[in-house]
């Protein structure tokens, strides 16, 4: 357990360069070395986020929180659907070679397709708004999840399964006690990758298909009015949000599951 002072020192050495970079940016903009409309000072961008945070819609919600809320529930719907269906299909592919033989070519062809490519077609099918955005977020997360889960479930050694079989384990026990823990690390890698892809694609598709809310919509819409401080503030916000998701939420899940089981793959 690192001591408190060491932790503080670590985060200070992490934050100092960032702070310095912001300072340089601030100075460049304030001294008008770069046109302050093109590059507004970060303090102004952050103030602008604060103003959006306290500004209210007619029915009393904070505008910034509404944007964040819309992006979040779209991400969660798309991602969770992808996680459930993707892990199920991936495990099925890992356990049965015919299922694998059939789906593997389809998945390999689909994995490199940028999720955003589906947006125009989905807009045609589902219209502008949530259904399209959630569907694209789903597609972006689905394929990496299936791919990694299948790879994990297939990597299990036959001997392990034989050993449990000789000791009298039935199919269910093998599934829950052998296959699932074995694949857990791969599944989690797939989920992490899927979440990151889903998030990136979500922001992009919000620029194309959102109607009123969402962080992607917020920054793209601000462009029309040359509100560069909203765009920069939004970009900073996007970085902070995903940094938090990755380093707080996902870290916690990893610590509770695969690290505890000693199954972490070192990459």
């Amino acid at each position: 357990m690192p001591s408190l002072t060491k932790r503080l020192g670590d985060s200070a050495s992490l934050l100092a360069p960032l702070f310095f970079a912001f300072l340089v940016w601030e100075a460049m903009s304030r001294l008008k070395l770069i046109n302050p409309i093109l590059l507004p000072p970060p303090s102004k961008a952050l103030m602008c986020m604060y103003r959006l945070l306290i500004a209210r819609t007619p029915d009393g919600h904070s505008i910034l929180l509404m944007h964040i809320y819309h992006s979040f529930y779209r991400l969660l719907y798309g991602f969770f659907a992808a996680a459930v269906i993707g892990v199920a299909l991936g495990l099925a592919m890992g356990m049965n070679k015919y299922v694998y033989g059939y789906f593997n070519p389809i998945i390999s062809v689909m994995v490199p397709v940028p999720g955003i490519t589906w947006a125009p077609i989905l807009i045609l099918w589902l219209g502008f708004g949530d259904p399209t955005i959630i569907a694209v977020a789903f597609i972006a997360a689905f394929f990496p999840i299936v791919y990694n889960t299948a790879a994990g479930a297939r990597s299990i050694s036959k001997e392990l399964i034989w050993a449990t079989q000789t000791m009298g384990a039935n199919g269910r026990t093998i599934f829950f006690r052998v296959l699932l823990p074995w694949s857990a690390a791969y599944i989690l890698t797939g989920l992490k990758l899927g979440l990151a892809r889903s998030w990136r694609t979500l922001i992009a598709v919000e620029m194309i298909a959102a109607t009123l809310w969402g962080l992607g919509y917020m920054i793209f819409d601000a462009r029309e009015f040359l509100l560069t401080d909203v765009i920069y503030g939004g970009i900073i916000l996007l970085a902070v949000i995903f940094f938090m998701i990755e380093n707080v939420v996902i870290r916690a899940i990893e610590e509770k599951t695969i690290e505890k089981w000693g199954m972490k793959i070192e990459i």
Partner: protein, 277 residues
């Protein structure tokens, strides 16, 4: 040249094996196309929403025979996209590897830049597009810069980590034997970090490919695969959209499986640096 009977047989066997593999790979894809055609034939889904594969093939042929200035339209779309990704990506490799190496060899530079890079990596690449549209306007510049940004940070990150993770003992050994800084860099640090650099490159190709298609939707003026799909929506040209989608699928598949995977395998395996997993 002498052909031995055995080698001819083994070549034939290899051909047969790869043909069966190709066949078992294509079969599921063909079955999907068939089901798709059937769904439309049976009028389960309106062909205005989901055109049958036969019609898409027809549109594909039309687009590849229609010419502007003597060049088939599809080829121009492909060519434009290719140029953009090639320019953006090669700039990213050049600057990214240089930056990453600097960060890898110098601890002060690493301490200064690493937090900034980690802060910038999670930003979705396309979030830069609105800003770039204001800075550089609609067109090639914005798209190429987006591609660059998509690839740059992962390359820097992986290169820097690759150099930093080179085994200390190797460096000490080289130093004891009198290697100067330059030799140390070219003979130890550079080859030692290559696995990681190539991993970064492979990730970067994927990132910049995604960035390209998205940026072309938001910022292209007339050409490019992303633009093709996006513009077809406004005209309700569903067939064209699907042609574009399939082209993107095929291009992505070729890039990943015929370029990046063999590159990674060749270089890394040849130099005997396969990572134990």
């Amino acid at each position: 040249m002498k052909f031995e009977r055995r080698s001819v047989i083994s070549i034939l066997e290899n051909v047969k094996k790869s043909l069966t593999e190709a066949f078992s790979f294509m079969l599921p894809l063909l079955s999907i196309v068939l089901i798709w055609q059937l769904i439309v034939e049976l009028k389960i889904i309106s062909p205005r929403l989901l055109p049958p594969p036969s019609e898409i093939a027809q549109t594909f042929l039309e687009l590849s025979s229609q010419r502007t200035g003597g060049v088939p339209i599809l080829l121009i779309h492909l060519y434009k996209s290719f140029i953009r990704i090639a320019l953006g990506l090669s700039a990213a490799v050049l600057f990214g590897v240089t930056f990453g190496m600097l960060m890898g060899v110098n601890r002060v530079i690493y301490r200064m830049l690493q937090p900034i890079i980690s802060f910038l990596i999670p930003i979705p690449t396309l979030a830069w597009v609105p800003i770039l549209l204001i800075w550089t306007g609609i067109g090639d510049k914005t798209i190429i810069i987006t591609v660059f940004l998509g690839a740059f940070f992962v390359i820097v990150y992986n290169t820097a980590n690759g150099v930093r993770n080179v085994d200390r003992h190797l460096i000490w050994a080289a130093q004891i034997m009198g290697a100067n800084k330059w030799t140390l860099f070219t003979k130890v640090l550079l080859p030692g970090s290559l696995v990681s650099v190539i991993t970064g490159l492979r990730l970067a190709v994927g990132y910049s490919w995604r960035a390209l298609v998205g940026a072309e939707m938001l910022a292209a003026t007339a050409w490019g695969l992303g633009y093709m799909v996006f513009a077809a929506r406004a005209l309700m040209a569903v067939n064209v959209m699907f042609v574009g989608l399939i082209l993107i699928m095929v291009t992505g598949f070729i890039m990943e499986n015929c370029i990046m995977v063999p590159l990674q395998r060749r270089t890394i395996e040849r130099w005997g640096m396969v990572r134990e997993m």
